[in-house]
């Protein structure tokens, strides 16, 4: 199969994008396989946990890659580039949401639904997780983005600063502020969090012993 089809699994994202710019659909397929899921979940988190909207935005970002691959600068890390594009798309959606908020009465209800009344039972299996999700939705967009990029997507402070087009100090400050605020709002769940932590440690210990 290797003789017939070129394998892109070992290639870096940057090299794949060079091939995509040349018109290689296999390279594009590989890029999609790598980044469709993170993008979908990022949009899902950032856009009020609306799956349809998240899928639309995910499709839109890859359509941009198809039509204007030259927008990507191969000297830049693809990861930070695609997150920054996603971040800008979210910003635009927030602005549109603000406009809709002023003209439509139903928008607020929609947001409320996502914020609190319809937690995703499939993802939130305990109260702490539900509350954490709620609290994250109540955070400002910048703090939320920073927190999600840091703790969900495991990006470095430097990458987050590049994606959000801000300084690393600002990113650190936002993370600290978010942790402090969430800690205060979720202090009644502190023992639960501790239990979770202890439970995880015990599980890991048991696995190590076995």
């Amino acid at each position: 199969m290797q003789l017939v089809k070129k394998s892109y699994t070992a290639e870096t994202d940057e090299n794949l994008m060079r091939e995509v710019i040349k018109g290689d659909n296999l390279a594009f397929s590989e890029i999609y396989d790598r980044w469709s899921k993170p993008m979908l979940n990022y949009f899902y988190k950032m856009l009020w946990q609306d799956r349809e909207k998240a899928e639309d935005f995910m499709q839109e970002i890859f359509t941009k890659i198809i039509h204007k691959p030259q927008l990507y600068n191969p000297s830049r890390a693809f990861k930070t580039w695609i997150y920054s594009v996603a971040n800008n798309m979210c910003k635009n959606e927030y602005r549109r949401a603000e406009v809709r908020k002023g003209t439509s009465n139903s928008l607020h209800d929609n947001i409320i639904v996502h914020d609190s009344s319809a937690p995703d039972k499939e993802h939130d299996k305990n109260i702490f997780n539900d509350r954490l999700k709620e609290e994250l939705e109540l955070l400002s967009e910048n703090h939320k983005k920073t927190f999600i990029l840091r703790f969900k997507h495991d990006l470095s402070i430097k990458d987050i600063a590049e994606i959000l087009e801000t300084s690393e100090g600002t990113v650190k400050s936002r993370i600290f502020y978010t942790l402090k605020k969430l800690g205060k709002n979720l202090k009644e769940f502190s023992p639960i969090a501790k239990t979770i932590m202890v439970g995880m440690c015990l599980i890991e210990l048991a696995q190590y012993i076995i």
């Binding site: 979940n41 939130d124 997780n129 954490l132 402070i157 639960i192």
Partner: protein, 325 residues
């Protein structure tokens, strides 16, 4: 100051993830206490960090709809045919089906390119430089007037020498023989030019040195001429003998034109005849001399013996040839 504060914040995050509050050293505690008010707050923040990490790990990630990938790949493929259509568009515009072959712009362009190529090829390959070393040059070319004048001069000198020899009864010197050969050479050139008008051409044997090797030239020689040579060999010797005595009975000529070596034997002629023609008219002299093998007297043609030899058969002839050259 701000930079330091940020670093310590990072450190706090590190401690939240990796240390218990009571495990912190005094230095670490000092850093933590700069930003965290109490142990309780530290634990709350720690619970959030640990819980968030766990939450995001446990959270079931959404999987994209496979139909999206199919749609995107189709969209991607649409981009590639666009290039093919672009090329196809050029081809269609250059070779429209509705037009005749020579009316198609593509064909016209091809014709134009071919014309330019042809012109360029001719212009750059046409060698008009006369001084080009690759060109064959005939530096020894003489005009007709010069040739006639030279022939006349040589003829007169020859005649004077012969007369002198006759008077003194002396053998001709090498110089005289050379001059004789020169005259013969010039005569042979004349023969070549007028060979078509000569009645009996069979007795003149031409060697095409440049055109073919000597072996093939020999083969080309008519057998009859060869036989004649052998048959008249004695006559030739006799004519040489008589020549030495001042009586020119048989005249043998070795002539070199631009690309031909011509060896021929002419009819025996007496000195008196030569004298008559050379004195009266150079042209007449040489035109009569041209009729090798035959003397045309009015309407009567008289065949005369012809002596001819090939170079391969007579090494002396080669020596004479070089002398003539």
């Amino acid at each position: 100051m701000m930079e330091d504060r940020n670093i310590t914040k990072m450190d706090v995050e590190f401690y939240l993830l990796n240390r218990e509050y009571n495990e912190l050293s005094s230095d670490e505690l000092a850093i933590v206490n700069e930003h965290v008010e109490s142990e309780q707050e530290f634990n709350e923040m720690k619970a959030v960090v640990m819980g968030a990490g766990n939450f995001f790990k446990e959270e079931k990630e959404l999987a994209p709809n496979p139909a999206i990938k199919v749609a995107l790949l189709k969209e991607f493929d649409k981009q590639q045919p666009a290039r093919a259509y672009w090329l196809n568009g050029i081809f269609v515009s250059l070779f429209p089906k509705e037009k005749r072959l020579f009316q198609k712009p593509g064909m016209q362009l091809i014709g134009l390119a071919a014309s330019v190529l042809l012109i360029v090829t001719i212009a750059f390959n046409g060698n008009t430089d006369i001084n080009n070393s690759t060109l064959a040059q005939n530096n020894g070319f003489k005009t007709e007037e010069e040739a006639v004048e030279e022939r006349g001069k040589l003829g007169r000198e020859e005649f004077a020498e012969e007369k002198n020899l006759q008077e003194n009864d002396l053998e001709p010197t090498t110089e005289v023989l050379e001059k004789e050969l020169e005259v013969a050479t010039l005569n042979e050139v004349e023969i070549e030019e007028k060979s078509e008008t000569v009645e009996n051409k069979g007795t003149t044997i031409d060697f095409m040195y440049d055109a073919q090797p000597i072996e093939s030239v020999e083969a080309d020689l008519s057998i009859a001429a060869d036989v004649d040579y052998r048959r008249n060999d004695n006559n030739l010797n006799a004519s040489e003998e008589s020549f030495k005595k001042g009586v020119l009975k048989d005249k043998e000529k070795v002539a070199i034109s631009d690309d031909k070596l011509v060896i021929s034997a002419t009819t025996p002629a007496t000195t008196e005849v030569v004298e008559e023609f050379s004195m009266s008219d150079d042209e007449g002299y040489f035109s009569d001399d041209v009729s090798a093998g035959a003397i045309v007297t009015g309407n009567n043609s008289i065949d005369l013996p012809v002596n001819s030899r090939s170079l391969a058969e007579d090494s002396d002839l080669i020596g004479i040839l070089y002398t003539a050259m």
